[in-house]
Symmetry: C2
Subunit: 200 residues, 2 copies
DNA sequence: GCGCCCGGCGGCACTGAGTGTCATTAGCAT
DNA sequence: ATGCTAATGACACTCAGTGCCGCCGGGCGC
């Protein structure tokens, strides 16, 4: 074949193998659940050896959460470009509400991932660890925000509180099968967060 | 022997074996870390078979966290006995500050457990799951508190925010090697929680 | 006393994640 | 084509966790 028709020129061979593994893994997770899917099965489906799977992903969880890591990068870039004159908290608020919109748009995919997570104790634990990374990102953003930054001790606590709220909000949204207004609830929660939970 | 002297009458034989396993496990975890301690080693140290370990604890983590589960029970009972006329949030506040005092009193033990947790990714993940149980307990307390209960949606969010704050606070305390004033910081955090994080 | 039943236990074998090692191979530049 | 290097497959191993089975000891009625 003179023009190398369908198959891409092989420079990104490694990327293609990773993609094949990811695709196989996510499909199998969705179909049979996380625990019931063995690494052997994923590797077989992707046409590589079991050993090679672990050359692309350190653990089975890592494959599952690769998309989540991509989103964390998006959040990071959102938070790294504050609007002029806005406080650190406002920047974080904007970034989180933007993410909420993305979640709403990717509703089906989010719900599927949540179902898979709920079906595995290991994944539920790993999910919480991912949340911890988000929390760290938020704390950092609150600390180093342009004009209205928070004192470090307050930033850590505020980030913990924010992340806790977000988790609770997402949990509520998932339980409503994604029918709730995630962005709207986010706005309400942020108002509550700013105003305080005390009697007033 | 007519009076069955030292050996307890065998009803609590099972409890004694569990205790032996627990003691061996915690000692080995403290000395070599969680990951480097095999179940075989724990069973050997406790004088039972490897298979028996799993008859007493469903997983290796379960052995590690057995103390934490006891504390959760303490918290539950604290929160179940509200003072007359106090709001749900005040009850939770009292219970959490009481726990903070316990943590301060058990400083060395807490620090040791924290070091062991930090030394194992599996334990860190499992620890976050334990926190989730605390959060559920708080949410329930806020919802069903005597006079000043919260509406359910607010309660879940408030519990998430509270638990996030507590985690951040504990993290700070651990990083100070337990030298910080945990109760004092808790009081401050609760004030912040009530007053809100927004620009005043 | 004697057989019987039953609950705990040890032993064994198995699955499945994750890791180390090594020989082979495939891509790529010269 | 040749040779270098990195990716790969194959094998062996550790360790958590589970199922299964046979044994042993202790109460039970007879």
């Amino acid at each position: 074949m003179s023009i190398k028709p369908a198959t891409v020129p092989p420079p990104n061979k490694r990327a293609r193998t990773q993609e094949a593994l990811l695709e196989a893994a996510l499909a199998l997770f969705a179909e049979h659940g996380f625990d019931a899917t063995t690494v052997d099965r994923i590797a077989e489906e992707a046409g590589v050896s079991r050993r090679s799977f672990f050359r692309y992903f350190p653990t089975k969880e890592a494959a599952f959460f690769s998309g989540q890591r991509r989103r964390l990068g998006v959040f990071r870039s959102l938070v790294a470009s504050p609007l002029p004159g806005e406080s650190a908290l406002e920047t974080v608020r904007r970034a989180i509400l933007a993410l909420a919109a993305v979640y709403t748009a990717d509703r089906e995919e989010r719900l599927l991932q949540h179902r898979v997570i709920q079906g595995s104790k290991h994944l539920m634990a790993a999910d919480l660890q991912v949340d911890a990374e988000w929390e760290a990102e938020i704390a950092q953003a609150l600390r180093r925000g342009g004009c209205g930054a928070m004192p470090p001790e307050t930033a850590a606590i505020a980030a913990g509180a924010l992340m806790g709220m977000i988790r609770a909000l997402l949990c509520e949204w998932y339980e409503s099968e994604g029918r709730g207004d995630l962005v709207g609830r986010g706005v309400e929660a942020f108002a509550l967060f700013a105003r305080g939970f005390g009697p007033s």
